[in-house]
């Protein structure tokens, strides 16, 4: 028996190999699997899975940054995101303790970054001064301040906190009439900071390439005072493989983290529901009579319920977790293969060997599970593959309406965030195209596999 089945499987594989798109589907499936297995190294932000909705985790990224590869298609490069660690750290310990350090930023891009941030963590009584020196020698003072006690975090953003200081630094280069007409609070501070000091610095700044050296000087008062962290963050115009969204999140990491959920949702739902459907259909066909009629009536009730609406209302009322959502989908998905399976079972049960098994005293259960269901396994696999895209799309649709499980990252939820923050009409294509493309691609993968099996199983459809 066992050898028979192996031989059957081998001949099935032999035929499957002949269907080219089936093989393509299989390859894509393996690629997705590899993506899930190597999720750790693929994630550019390690804690994406747990901290996707934690805004603190993403504070150092730029908002609405385009993918890095956009630079291949533009003549004026966008500045890349970067975190600059301290260089040339000099510590003085005699008398007052003090620390001096540099943060050189090599600016070669054609367009300024979206923001520059100084990110500090200090403890105790500390006096600090932060300045940045431009390639043309002009300097901008970020801050000169003394902190009292306790530990605190300092985040100084050029775009939000330093507009007036930037204005003072470069105003002398502009026509006095134009400069005085400008409201310092409304200038493009980052553009001016990285712009040539000349006419038009406020309206159309021309980039000034070179090294921008940020210097941090800290005086530590008392024994307990210390500098815990210091870095300069360049929030670029481009960031990561797929850019960032309106909440500064790295979309590539989100996409990678969503892959496993798409696979889990799709495979689990189709596996359970097709298994249930096949057993249900075979049982119904095998027993016939009143069992068949009763099972048919129940089947018809489930078929008459529109799927997506009931799933939406169930999700809205019961606010399910992702696992409950999978069970909910199974409750309505199992009807898929029933009708075909039942008609196949009606043919199968007329075979002589079934009658022979009866004669030998085999129980109904034995006949169903040993003699009939094994014959339906290839069909079951085909319908499983074809049920996967539906499950993924339904979960995405429920998420799109805002009813997804907020403890996980799914592609549908990324699209919900995009749609609800108006990315469509702002043209933030890198927020919308990749997640949907991923859904479509995974759907295509399983469609390829499923249709390939279908062609093999239905000899009538053969063209050769």
């Amino acid at each position: 028996m066992k050898r028979d089945r192996m031989a059957q499987l081998r001949s099935f594989w032999k035929e499957f190999r002949q269907v080219r798109f089936g093989v393509v589907g299989l390859v894509l499936f393996v690629v997705f699997l590899i993506g899930v297995v190597f999720e750790g190294p693929l994630l550019t932000y390690r804690d994406t899975n747990t901290r996707w909705r934690d805004m603190l985790y993403w504070t150092n990224s730029p908002r609405y940054a385009m993918p890095v590869w956009v630079n291949w298609f533009t003549s004026k490069d966008y500045a890349k995101s970067a975190v600059i660690e301290p260089h040339n750290v000099v510590e003085q310990t005699d008398g007052l303790r003090s620390v001096t350090m540099d943060f050189p930023y090599e600016y070669q891009a054609g367009r300024p970054p979206s923001d520059v941030l100084v990110d500090l963590a200090i403890t105790g009584q500390v006096a600090l001064s932060i300045t940045v020196e431009r390639p043309d020698g002009r300097t901008l003072t970020y801050t000169k301040q003394t902190s009292s006690s306790g530990s605190q975090q300092l985040r100084i953003s050029v775009d939000q906190n330093l507009r007036e200081r930037v204005y003072q630094m470069v105003a002398s280069a502009e026509d006095p009439a134009i400069a005085s007409a400008r409201n310092p609070k409304q200038i493009n501070a980052v553009g001016a900071l990285f712009g040539k000091a000349q006419h038009g610095i406020f309206s159309e700044p021309e980039v000034l390439n070179g090294t921008y050296k940020t210097t941090l000087q800290v005086t530590l008062v008392g024994a307990t005072a210390k500098l815990d962290r210091a870095q300069v963050v360049i929030a670029g115009g481009v960031s990561g493989i797929l850019g960032t969204d309106g909440n500064k999140r790295d979309l590539w990491s989100g996409l990678v983290a969503g892959t496993k959920w798409a696979l889990i949702i799709g495979l689990l739902t189709s596996l359970i529901s097709v298994a249930v459907g096949v057993v249900y259909g075979v049982t119904s066909g095998y027993f016939g009579g009143w069992v068949d009629s009763l099972m048919n009536r129940i089947y018809e009730i489930f078929v008459s319920i529109p799927l997506l609406p009931i799933l939406i209302v169930l999700s809205a009322v019961f606010k399910p977790s992702i696992w409950i959502m999978i069970i909910m989908m199974c409750v309505f998905f199992w009807v898929g293969p029933v009708k075909t399976v039942r008609s196949i079972a009606l043919q199968l049960k007329e075979n002589a060997y079934i009658e022979a098994a009866h004669g030998l005293g085999a129980t109904h259960r034995r006949i169903l599970f040993k003699h009939m269901i094994p014959q339906l396994v290839p069909y079951a696999f085909a319908s499983m593959a074809l049920a996967v895209p539906g499950a993924i799309t339904y979960e995405a649709s429920i998420s799109l309406i805002g009813l997804g499980d907020a403890t996980v990252v799914t592609w549908g939820q990324i699209l919900f965030d995009a749609f609800s923050s108006g990315a469509v009409l702002q043209g933030i294509w890198w927020w919308i195209v990749p997640p949907g493309l991923a859904i479509a691609l995974m759907g295509m993968t399983f469609a390829f596999i499923g249709f390939a099996m279908d062609t093999i199983l239905n000899p009538k459809l053969r063209t050769r």
Partner: protein, 350 residues
């Protein structure tokens, strides 16, 4: 005998609707009760404020008693004082007779808070959009399917089959987003949503304006939809082409064209139409929230609205009505099938 079958089928559809509404009522009983109770509380509060102004100098105790009485009266009216099974039963009766209650927030365009009015004013809009799509899908699908079947295994057949599979798992609403971004944002050719310009133009301009607004949503669904129908049609036609009567027709020297359109299509039409419309029913109800992307003010958008504003009565009413339309569609399909294909045993055992 056809009409007997038809009457039975329609009756069966009503029965099915009642059973499903009963299941819904049981499933969502507690949340529906809760909403109704808070609605009654609000009504009583409102009435008592009005009453307080009239009878200012009365005994405050008497006032409280009146309030309780009024509440109990309303509870009795809505069967809220009865046991669980009876509450479910009465809710089923109410829903089946289309008494869907009052919404909590959402209003119809005329300002009514009756759920029935809110839902029914949207039905024609949804039917208009999805009806147009189905018709175009069906025509394109059958034409393409016939061509595919005629040269099965040919280049076009293979290419379009791959097309079917490529769009198989693509969410319609995502393609909608892309097309809006492209045709409303990058190249402002079509409106990004809604059914009319505001204010809507009069006369013939009204229809033209409506059609202009329909182009993008219809186009999106058609681009995704007709492939599946073409694939189904191809398979059925291909199966029919292997029948004996086709071989005999060919042997008699009947032209290939007549074999295809006269003999094959005639035999294959009923299953194609049912399969296609069944598939459309499923996919359209699967795409219903797609309306929200185009702010098309139909039943699908109502799901968005009621979820966002947490308007449970509207959500429930919408679900019941959607289910009703779906069941009606299935029944209609069976009736057409019985009409198109005399081989269906009318009135006999299936």
């Amino acid at each position: 005998m056809y009409w007997k079958y038809a009457v039975r089928r329609v009756f069966y559809a009503f029965l099915m609707f009642a059973v499903i509404v009963f299941i819904f009522s049981a499933l969502f009983n507690s949340v529906a009760d809760r909403v109704l109770r808070s609605q009654i509380q609000e009504t009583v509060n409102g009435e008592s404020r009005a009453r307080a102004r009239v009878m200012q100098n009365r005994d405050p105790n008497e006032f409280l008693v009146w309030k309780e009485q009024r509440k109990a009266e309303l509870y009795r009216l809505y069967h809220l004082d009865e046991p669980l099974m009876s509450r479910i039963f009465w809710r089923t009766i109410d829903t089946v007779t289309f008494r869907l209650g009052q919404s909590t927030i959402i209003r119809s365009s005329a300002g009514s808070q009756s759920v029935m009015t809110i839902v029914t004013e949207r039905i024609p809009r949804t039917l208009l959009l999805f009806g147009t799509v189905s018709l175009i899908d069906l025509i394109l699908g059958i034409i393409l399917g016939m061509r595919k079947a005629r040269k099965a295994g040919g280049l076009m057949d293979k290419a379009t089959s791959v097309g079917t599979m490529v769009v198989y798992g693509m969410p319609a609403w995502w393609l909608g987003m892309l097309l809006i971004m492209f045709f409303a944002f990058t190249i402002p050719l079509f409106p990004s949503g809604a059914m009319h310009s505001t204010p809507p133009p009069e006369g013939i301009g009204y229809t033209l304006d409506l059609m202009y607004h329909m182009i993008l949503p219809v186009m999106t669904l058609v681009v995704l939809g007709f492939w599946g129908i073409a694939y189904i049609a191809r398979n059925i036609v291909l199966g029919t082409l292997q029948e004996d009567f086709i071989m005999s027709a060919r042997a008699r020297g009947i032209s290939e064209r007549r074999v295809l359109f006269g003999h094959t299509l005639r035999a294959a039409a009923p299953p194609i139409v049912t399969m296609a419309v069944l598939g459309l029913l499923g996919s359209l109800f699967g795409a219903i929230i797609y309306e929200g992307i185009f702010s098309w003010p139909g039943m699908g958008s109502l799901y968005w609205q009621s979820v966002q504003q947490n308007d449970i009565p509207v959500l429930m009413g919408n679900l019941s009505m959607t289910t009703g339309i779906y069941i009606a569609g299935l029944a209609f399909l069976d009736l057409i099938y019985g009409f198109l294909d005399p081989r269906v045993k009318v009135g006999g055992k299936a």
